[in-house]
């Protein structure tokens, strides 16, 4: 038990040190702009289809479920407002982050893990390049920038999915009523947390993926283990941080 706790604290300390160096390197030369763009393409554009599909189905499902519940109270016209609040505040950021964690935290961990076990990271250090600067910082910047953008797209597509269910399919309200209510219900607080959350989730996904990748050991089996750990840890951190941010914003 004591060993487990010591390992846990040591790992967390190591994580904080790596994260600190990754942030420091944002402002240090050399800057690997090409790598940032490549990562933005892989993480952002690469995740676009799955994020759009998930956003669409989430919105449609929420609308379908809510329409039934709201009908009970004669408040079916509020479906746009409910979907909008749910998606923008919580489900949009969390679902998008979970998808990107599954797709990219694993991808980052396995890529860096393979580089670690084949000594490419050591080779990089031997050739005079800081692996944190070359590998972690570009992924950190790319994920932190792309995840909020993906979330905005997921929210918009989700609202469109909910619109298709509520207006043409169920005929609960008119298109104008739907879009007006779903827009007017949002206040700056909702938009702020809807954008701050994915920004922080992006940082978590990149750092956790890179951390587990960089500490991979034990050959190909180790790469598999690192990949799984990266997805599990980043998913748990996403929920934990979502709760913390909710707590802060609810009190505002």
């Amino acid at each position: 038990m004591l060993n487990f706790l010591t390992d846990l604290i040591a790992s967390f300390q190591e994580f904080v040190l790596v994260a600190g160096r990754a942030f420091q390197n944002i402002f240090r030369r050399p800057h690997y702009y090409d790598d940032v763009l490549i990562q933005m393409d892989i993480i952002g554009f690469g995740s676009l289809t799955i994020v759009m599909l998930t956003g669409f189905f989430s919105g449609a499902i929420i609308a379908l479920q809510m329409s039934r519940a709201l009908n009970t109270y004669g408040a079916a016209s509020q479906v746009g407002a409910i979907v909008s609040l749910t998606l923008v505040r919580e489900l949009g950021p969390v679902l998008t982050a979970l998808l990107v964690a599954g797709r990219n935290a694993s991808g980052i961990a396995s890529e860096l893990g393979s580089m670690k076990v084949t000594e490419q990271i050591d080779a990089m250090r031997a050739l005079g390049t800081d692996p944190v600067q070359k590998l972690i910082t570009p992924r950190l910047i790319a994920t932190a920038v792309m995840l909020p953008l993906l979330t905005v797209i997921a929210d918009a597509i989700g609202l469109f999915g909910a619109y298709l269910v509520s207006v043409p399919l169920l005929g609960l309200l008119t298109a104008t009523e739907y879009w007006t209510s779903s827009w007017q219900v949002l206040v700056y607080n909702d938009l702020a947390q809807g954008l701050i959350k994915p920004f922080i989730f992006g940082i978590i996904i990149a750092l956790v993926g890179c951390f587990y990748g960089m500490r991979t050991s034990g050959g190909t089996q180790g790469v598999g283990h690192a990949t799984t750990q990266a997805v599990v840890s980043s998913s748990i951190w996403i929920f934990f941080v979502a709760l913390l941010i909710d707590k802060i914003f609810v009190n505002l």
């Binding site: 393979s114 084949t118 000594e119 050591d122 080779a123 990089m124 031997a126 050739l127 005079g128």
Partner: protein, 275 residues
């Protein structure tokens, strides 16, 4: 061991442990320009750790390591980068960057040092082609490492290690897992690099033949091939004679010439001598 001011690499009582086992134990030696050290040892005896510690990839628990005359034992990673860039290293499987082509891999160290060297694109291209021609792989410029055989990857690794013309090159098991013909080709290239550029070399290997080849042959630039060193000429050749280390549980248990290695009666050391 007194400090050798001319040494490119100097170890003084260097020790390090991984858990309970010794990776390096009181290791002391110096390596000067154009000298060759062949390091034998069983798996896990600390050979790779020694190489990695020499360029600061691993920090020892105690002792002092100097690289190009500067103590690196307490250097930060950033302080080490310029020193490391002056040494070449061939990793066990080549450690080429998968996502980069052969050209980009070999170019990598040059681009890293571009701020200081200010090489033009043409000069860089010339140096890359020259390094690849040296390992006889100029035709692979635009291939990815995955498209190359194990031996070819190792040769590109050598090209990457020597493209900056470093005074010191470290080779980690350059022939491991290769067939005898490819292994001899690799060792011939290492001998060629040593003799053409007077490079100091630290070579970790399991094969006694690798050590013998380095000790008994020299590269003849005129004939463009390796030729045996005549017995009489071994002492006064341009390159310093090849020395051998045998490591056991992190300790250097033998240090001496090929002849001394042959004469040893220690059963562990004799395992590395071809009968």
């Amino acid at each position: 061991m007194p400090e050798d001011v001319d040494a490119l690499v100097q170890f003084d009582d260097v020790s390090t442990q991984f858990g309970e086992s010794w990776a390096l134990r009181d290791v002391s030696f110096g390596l000067r320009k154009s000298e060759t050290r062949i390091i034998f040892g069983a798996a896990g005896s600390g050979k790779t750790t020694l190489l990695k510690a020499a360029i600061g990839l691993i920090q020892p628990d105690s002792g002092k390591i100097c690289l190009f005359g500067e103590e690196i034992t307490n250097c930060s990673e950033r302080e080490l980068f310029p020193l490391r860039a002056k040494a070449g290293m061939l990793f066990q499987e080549g450690a080429l960057f998968d996502s980069l082509t052969v050209r980009e891999n070999v170019e990598y160290p040059l681009r890293n040092q571009q701020a200081e060297s200010r090489l033009s694109e043409e000069e860089m291209e010339h140096r890359v082609r020259e390094a690849l021609r040296f390992v006889e792989l100029e035709q692979t410029l635009d291939k990815l490492p995955a498209e190359l055989s194990g031996g070819m990857r190792r040769r590109v690794g050598i090209a990457r290690a020597i493209v900056t013309e470093p005074p010191l090159v470290l080779y980690d098991s350059p022939t491991a897992g290769l067939d005898p013909i490819t292994a001899n080709t690799i060792m011939a290239l290492i001998a060629k690099e040593r003799d053409v550029r007077q490079t100091a070399s630290l070579i970790v290997t399991h094969r006694f033949q690798d050590g013998e080849l380095m000790a008994d042959f020299r590269y003849d630039a005129g004939a463009e091939e390796l030729v045996p060193v005549p017995e009489a000429g071994k002492e006064d050749r341009e390159c310093a004679p090849t020395q051998f280390f045998v490591m056991k549980e992190g300790e250097i248990v033998f240090s001496g010439s090929r002849e001394q290695l042959h004469q040893t009666t220690d059963p562990y050391i004799r395992r590395f001598v071809k009968h």
